[in-house]
Amino acid sequence: MAEGVKPRVKVPKTATAGEAITIKTLISHQMESGQRKDSDGNAIPRSIINRFVVDFNGENVLDVTLEPAISTNPYFEFEATVPESGEFHFTWYDDDGSVYETTEPITVG
């Protein structure tokens, strides 16, 4: 597992049923592109997060395929519909097989 990978997500605490809410996510990751060389001239192998998935109560919101052209510390902003109270589930998949997950609850009042 890449070292020190930490996700940050921003989800409103509450919403009304069916409301469109804005979600922002950020995760610390070098996103080594495979294009760079080290000081000895050897290619540094690619090591990136290649997929990012957001679900709410088991239903999909967004599923992103990432290529090496995504910047260091991948950032996404998007909108989700919240039909009822529940939990957002965020998952990042690393080239090295690691999976980083976090969840965020939201209350529909």
Partner: protein, 139 residues
């Protein structure tokens, strides 16, 4: 091994040309990526909007937004990068809009392309040129 000044200059020019090359023939790769996404279907215009800065202060972190109301997915390509692929956004049933923002790497001044696959199976594209400033102390 030693070089005369003239030889060194020639070497330097050759290196510069070799370095410049990868930014040119990426077009074929872009066409391939588009074909893989569309299955060879015709790509129209309108229906998808790509927002990107006209000038990026650093190519390492360029903010972009794609938006295509009703789209199932949006493919983003950077036509002048060594590999054109950037990202594919697939929108699920709970996406409130088919809009997403991210930050991307651009190897130099080039076109960024967004291609949306609409719900009816048709395709639409938009492209924006982003000038990437290189040089100076901050570049």
């Amino acid at each position: 091994m030693s070089f005369t000044r003239r030889q060194s200059l020639a070497l330097g020019l050759g290196t510069a040309a070799a370095v410049a090359l990868p930014f040119r023939p990426a077009l074929a790769a872009v066409e391939d990526d588009i074909a893989a996404f569309t299955g060879g279907a015709e790509v129209g215009s309108g229906g998808v909007t790509l927002t990107a800065p006209e000038i990026a202060e650093n190519g390492n972190t360029v903010p972009i937004e794609v938006s295509a109301p009703g789209a199932a997915s949006i493919l983003v390509l950077a036509a002048g990068n060594p590999n054109p692929g950037v990202a594919t956004f697939n929108f699920g049933p709970l996406a409130a809009s088919q809009t997403a923002s991210t930050r991307i790497r651009l190897a130099g001044t080039q076109d960024v392309v967004a291609i949306a696959k609409m719900a009816d199976g048709s395709f639409a594209s938009d492209r924006k040129e982003v000038k990437v400033t290189i040089g100076g102390c901050g570049g």
